[in-house]
Amino acid sequence: MIDQFVIPLLKIVIVLNATLVAVSYMVLLERKVIAWAQSRLGPMRVGPYGILQPVADAVKLMIKEDITPVRADRWVFTAAPIISMVPALIVYAVIPFGPKVSLFGRQVSLSITDVNVGLLYVVSVASVGVYGIILAGYASNSKYPLLASLRASAQLISYEVAVTLTLVSVVLMAGTLSMVSIVDAQYNGRVWFAFVQPVAFVVFFIGALAETNRAPFDMPEAEQELTGGFHTEYSGMRFALFFLAEYANVIVASSVATTLFLGGWLRPFPNVAMLRFLGFIPSWTWFLIKSFVFLYIFIWVRATLPRYRYDQLMRLGWKVLIPLAIANLVVTGIVKVLLS
């Protein structure tokens, strides 16, 4: 009873809440880091060094007037923000934060579930997330959101191919689709997959930037061209949902990258006995540290690089990343056969 219902429910509650808090603080982190990059201070007024800014933002967004355009497609307009938020959250069902640990005399695995199609589950849920953006643009019945959503969906579909192909080479290395087993494979192989699959790692990261609509690929919300992007007509809490979904997707991308390429919850050099003293740091802390590094790089890239032009984006996706990913896949397969 407890193992079947109580523990999974507790895990879901904890992970969902932690994610939502992380998402709201990711917004603050981004503002702070970009401010520092530009020699500014960033939010300073709410709380010491502005650490209560997310609370203020949330209150502001909730008490704002919620407007639905008259000619909008009412049902779809309401559903779109929800559709874009939900996939970002349910991906966490298969992300492992740590191995099995004993907690109050019970063996508890630090992941909500470990299905043997875990990685495919992540990809398929992410592919459903596109609907939020397309539908938001369509339902607003307004020109700029429609243009932005068409751009966005074309971009997402193109880069999905490259990202999925890199995942296939990781699966080839690990020989499994289960997220926990992929981390175990990195432990048994004595090396993080980022070092044996550097091409896949780089392509995955660039693809993740495009998949999450982040700079330098933030075409769908290019303010200067589209007056705000696919969520132009949204306000109040519904806008907040889109906003949070974007950051939730960034966090998901970081977690997936950590699990696949940086050894998930493993400490650095997990097979070196000399570093065993690092074991006092709990495994999930390593996971959080590695994910945080990715989050920081996401923000860093945004502060550094200018936006791509749309045709450049498409050329990069179809003519560079996809061929690279396919070549990497073929080479991985050949090397794997030769070594076995």
Binding site: V76, N116, V117, S124, S127, V128, I134, Y138
Partner: protein, 169 residues
């Protein structure tokens, strides 16, 4: 018992959404009901203990093909009412014919299923466990030729689409 309840609930949703797909006036809404329908079919696969099929269903149909449907529907102006045909009952006749054909086919399959002896899986027993591995094993042993033919067909279709779309190569 629990399985039966889950199955009938899912089946009701699948049929309900399928009816909505064909009865809804707004084409975009119709496509959205189609997505919901596919998601519930995926849930049915999970119930049948075939998680691999379920995620592929979501990935390929709900996440891939229907997105392209939506593109087409949004880019083509469908607000115009359809032009009247000189035979107003043409659709009814065609629909009736198709319905009878599908019904006969389903009936034939049901009869065949109950009368034929239980087939053992052709070939050696599978040396692998796990849904994904088993699907892969079957595709590359017992069903190798259908699998290769299907992939050839897809390749030909892809080349055909490129040739048709590009005026000059």
């Amino acid at each position: 018992m629990g399985q039966a309840i889950a199955f009938y609930t899912l089946a009701a949703f699948i049929l309900g959404f399928a009816v909505l797909v064909v009865t809804t006036k707004d084409t975009v809404h119709s496509v959205l009901f189609l997505v919901l329908d596919f998601l519930f079919v995926a849930a049915l696969y999970v119930l049948l203990d075939a998680p691999f099929l379920a995620v592929i269903q979501v990935l390929v149909y709900a996440g891939g093909i229907v997105v392209l449907y939506l593109f087409v529907v949004m880019l083509v102006n469908l607000k115009r009412p359809p032009e009247a045909h000189h035979d107003p009952h043409r659709r009814t006749k065609l629909g009736l014919f198709l319905a009878v054909a599908v019904l006969l086919e389903l009936g034939a399959i049901a009869v065949y299923q109950t009368t034929r002896p239980v087939l053992s899986v052709p070939g050696a027993p599978m040396p692998v466990t796990g849904n994904t591995e088993q699907v892969g094993w079957l595709l590359y042993t017992s069903y190798l030729i259908p699998f290769e033919i299907a992939s050839m067909l897809l390749l030909v279709a892809m080349i055909g689409a490129i040739v048709l779309a590009k005026r000059e190569l």
